[in-house]
Amino acid sequence: MKYFSKENVLLASVALIVVFVFQQLAGQWAFPDTNWEVRKDDRASLDAGEFFIQKFAASRNNLKQIEIRFADSKIGEGGEIKLQVYNEACSNLIREKSRNVASLGADETYNFAFEKISESQGKIFCLKLAFEPKDPEKKANVYVVSNESRENVSLFDTQKNQALPGQSLSMRPGYQADNWRENIEELNQRISQYKPWFLKHYFLYAITFGFILLSIATVVVLILI
């Protein structure tokens, strides 16, 4: 019990908060391939029991997430969006991620993060997107955009039973770097772009780590005095 003081509880809370925040950040750490555009072109509906089958080529290793823009949808009591990543032949399930949604709006995108697929570069993946509404009469709406990039292999709508050549879901894959040093460097690169010299690269490192360390030090000192 001698360690169970007010100060120690607060210090332990600070430590847990720091761990939790950075763990959350690590969980959503994926660099979206911005060559894929999540535009709002044509709407297409996704009924219960149907799929969109999107085949795409990964441009990098460590495929970590798929980001999708849904269109405004009247889904009543909501439902579950299921995203499955298969091999090229759509036969072997590699990753799967589900999200329960109460509403679907077009203003933001939805991220489906999964455990990274290490050797993904150059491989073609088959992505199945399905919606399972609580009310079977309801359906979700997605956006389908024209996409002539090499990475977009094909899109198939099972509901219409037709291929949609030259089109893709309004989506983009996200990747991690090979290790955390490279991940941090890539994030630094992204933040540094369109910034003045005093907010770039080494200055940015100094500011970031300085802020984190001083913030923690401030809280710790205030607890201990």
Partner: protein, 479 residues
Amino acid sequence: MSKFQSIANFCKKPAFILGLILASFFLKEMFLSALLPIFSGVDEYRHYNTIQYLNEPKEKNWEIKDVPHEKFSRSDFEGNRFSEEILQTGKAMDIETIWSTKASFTNSYVGANENEINSRKWDPYNKIYPPDIVVNAGLYHRLAAYIEKFFTNSSILIRFYAIRTLSIIFGTLAILAAYFLLKNIGFSQKNSLIVSAIISLQPRFSIYITNINYDALLIFIFTLFALGGILFLKQGLNWKNGLLILASFILGMLAKGTSIVLIIPLFALIAFFIFQKIKERKINLKYTATALLMLMIVSGIFFLKYNLGTLALPKNSDPSLAAFLTRSLHRIPATSTDYWGGVSWTRDNFSNEFVGVIWVAEALSIVGIFLYLFSRKKLEFLPEKKYICFFLLLMLALQIGIRFNNWKITAGGSELLYGTPGRYFIPNLTVHMALIFVGIGALVRQKKYLNTLLLTGLVFMFAFSLHIIFNVVIPRFYL
């Protein structure tokens, strides 16, 4: 004494801790400034255009295209009436994509069109008139215009982020003023430091203060005014606090029209002073009445010159003020969420849950303040009631001013679609935070419990702040 002991003693010095709070705040804000892309702040492009407009040569010897206001269409960024440099920089960065989703990134530290932006091939002049600038550009814009001019041979990126740094400096000064304010109302040195640190971590304040916006200066000025008022109530009128009150009031008026609301606490302070002097039989009623009349005439001239538009009643009173206020009631939770830093930049980001906890603390503090004001028992560890009344007056004055102004906008035909943004109330953040902890202190009634709750509040705000920066802002723009 061992070396370790002497370091530990040094770390306990209030000046060191205050320095730590200010330094960590400044670095946090610089980091946030780097995270937020150019023109992503509230009306930032308009404020920056105002600054560039102030630096335009008086003799406008470039081709100007006049587009009447009513024929103007602002369907995309390029269609705005901003300087050529702002419009072309926004286009080169694909600013609309950044606003809606994410930028296109390269595999280096330099953006795809960054060198083109740095080549300074576009004029920082408005070529479409009338330009889209802030009405009544004031002190902040003029100070920023000096920075813009000083770095005139540098890239827009350097000029823009240097002006953002000016805002951050004002924010840092506001934290410093907050500390002195809290210390002077009677919080212990330690508690003053803790509340200052909590203020420095408040997410909305932290994000907003990085923007190019005259509110950065306004927040500092409001805190200074409150400090002046507190010193006056504590020490009686002397040249120091008198000057502080007067200077902050005048600077506020020069910075933004919102400062006109300070007239209410200013007159309350004057009334308090006169009341005391009459009570002490130190002044004659006749002289006082003459002085007051002169003061009113001088104030009248001042307001006629600078702020008649702000004071005037709307020509059309539909909806009525009462109807407007009734309609605003259901928007208060949204305003409060925005005020505390609840953001919808990413899905399921839990910021509303954090705000929910703060609402519980606020509700408890309202009860506590009510009990404190109407109880006869004096709690030594809490500020005196006169300070609490002054703070409540400051809160009330800003509420009245903003609601009145919003009513004017609504009655003028422009519907406030998104309600009243919480950022409008940030100038009173220090006062608000002090009231919350006074209220909670009045409920728990013991210093040691208040100390523990203050530290809990600090840890909570630390969590909220880190969460917003690392789990919302970074993923929103970069992941």
